[in-house]
């Protein structure tokens, strides 16, 4: 099962939730084989701050960026016509490449009739993996100056999927994905293919505003989802009212407790310091399992 932790507004507590959820699942008692935590916030991965994982491998990730052999270019313009991102432009007998706009789809090289386009792997970042106690961990980290995160996010997920496929045990695995904030391409790439999405929010006007955008996005992706309200006793009741109106389950409320903030600021895992809180995260996992097995309780508004 794959659970994505997303938000809308940044800074609501996605990483806190993802990390604590990963470390609160009592694997033996619920016959789970593996728990994986994927940090897909590749522009600023921060799960590692809390996990302090034992990193065991690192891999460079690149995308194929076109390189033109001008002696073969006839200026037919096919490359420019297929490119959705204006990363390659055909002018008379010259083709110009803008590598920073290239999404690495490989389309231009495919349609070039004279074979003038060669694909050069350009590094966009790294993926690395390791373990911390029971949790297998993979994170992506973008190269500074790179703007294109979806290909790197896909690499993190593909790596986890490949690992899952070669798992020797028959037992189920749980993958938790710490997503980037917001609702644009990187988030959609991270969430896509998940079985359930947890939207973490805070009970403030900004929290509510961005939550509604995130809800819209997840509904478009047709993945069941629920809400977790962090710092739940601060702010106002508008988020609760909104969820109630929309039929969205609020699966957990984390109180606005200074002790939690202090533990977080020290880079510690909350449930390590306060093990009694594990119960709440375990219940969250069980609720998600129950909801995704019962499609009638999906929080989707009818079209």
């Amino acid at each position: 099962m794959i659970i994505s932790v997303a938000s809308g507004k940044g800074g609501t507590g996605k990483t806190t939730l993802a990390v604590n959820l990963a470390f609160s699942i009592p694997i033996p008692s619920i016959s789970l084989g593996t728990v994986r935590l994927l940090d897909c916030d590749v522009e600023e991965p921060n799960c590692h701050i809390f996990l302090k994982p034992d990193i065991q491998w690192t891999e460079s990730v690149g995308i194929p960026v076109p390189s033109i052999d001008e002696s073969k270019c006839t200026g037919c313009g096919e490359c420019g016509r297929i490119c959705q991102y204006h990363a390659i432009v055909s002018l008379k007998t010259k083709a110009l490449v803008f590598p920073e706009l290239c999404h690495g789809c490989g389309g231009c090289a495919k349609v070039c009739p004279t074979g003038a386009i060669r694909e050069v792997k350009t590094e966009i970042g790294i993926i690395e993996g390791g373990v911390r106690d029971q949790v297998k961990f993979i994170q992506g980290r973008m190269k500074i100056g790179q703007a294109m995160s979806p290909p790197l996010i896909r690499a993190v997920k593909q790596c986890a999927a490949a690992d899952d496929a070669t798992d020797a045990t028959d037992a189920d695995s749980l993958t938790i994905i710490d997503c980037p904030p917001g609702t644009s391409c990187p988030v959609v790439t991270a969430i896509r293919g998940s079985d359930y999405v947890l939207l973490v929010t805070e009970p403030t006007p900004f929290g509510l505003h961005d939550l509604t955008l995130a809800v819209e996005t997840v509904r478009q992706l047709k993945i069941p989802f629920g809400v977790v309200i962090n710092r739940a006793d601060s702010g106002n009741s508008q988020v609760m009212d909104y969820c109630s109106r929309e039929g969205i389950p609020v699966l957990m409320q984390i109180p606005d407790d200074r002790r939690i903030a202090e533990v977080y600021s020290a880079g510690q895992i909350v449930t390590d310091v306060f093990p009694q809180l594990r119960e709440g995260f375990e219940k969250l996992y069980k609720d998600i399992m129950h909801k995704s097995q019962n499609p009638e309780s999906r929080s989707q508004k009818s079209e």
Partner: protein
């Protein structure tokens, strides 16, 4: 020769549009015949990226030898340069006024883009 002027409207009284990539449209003026026509730039107004590149492609296809505009970003500038089109930035006033200035030789071509891109 043909000059493409970024314009906010169809006539010679229209103001020069201060942006190149996301200009409302281009007025293409033929210095030999004195004729002009306007081409819309709608497709680029809401483009997430590459608006300047596409606008440069458009004016290249229209056969322009010069572009006259307010500001031109780095990707647009690179594309125009590769297409052999000379760029004049800092133009202000109406399209008609700018054509007059051009014909009188009072406008200088630019060697560089004069603003940053909006995205990457």
């Amino acid at each position: 020769m043909k000059i493409a002027i970024t314009s906010s409207g169809d006539t010679l009284e229209s103001e020069v549009d201060q942006r190149f990539g996301r200009a409302a449209g281009f007025t293409v003026y033929d210095t030999e015949t004195g004729e002009f026509h306007r081409v819309d730039n709608d497709q680029n107004l809401n483009a997430a990226q590459g608006a300047g590149i596409q606008a440069a492609e458009t004016v290249s296809r229209l056969g322009a030898d010069f572009v006259i505009t307010g500001h031109c970003g780095p990707k647009a500038f690179r594309t125009l340069k590769a297409a052999g089109i000379k760029v004049i930035t800092g133009a202000q006033g109406t399209v008609g006024h700018v054509i007059g200035e051009f014909k009188a030789g009072r406008l200088k071509t630019s060697d560089f883009s004069d603003v940053e891109g909006h995205w990457a």
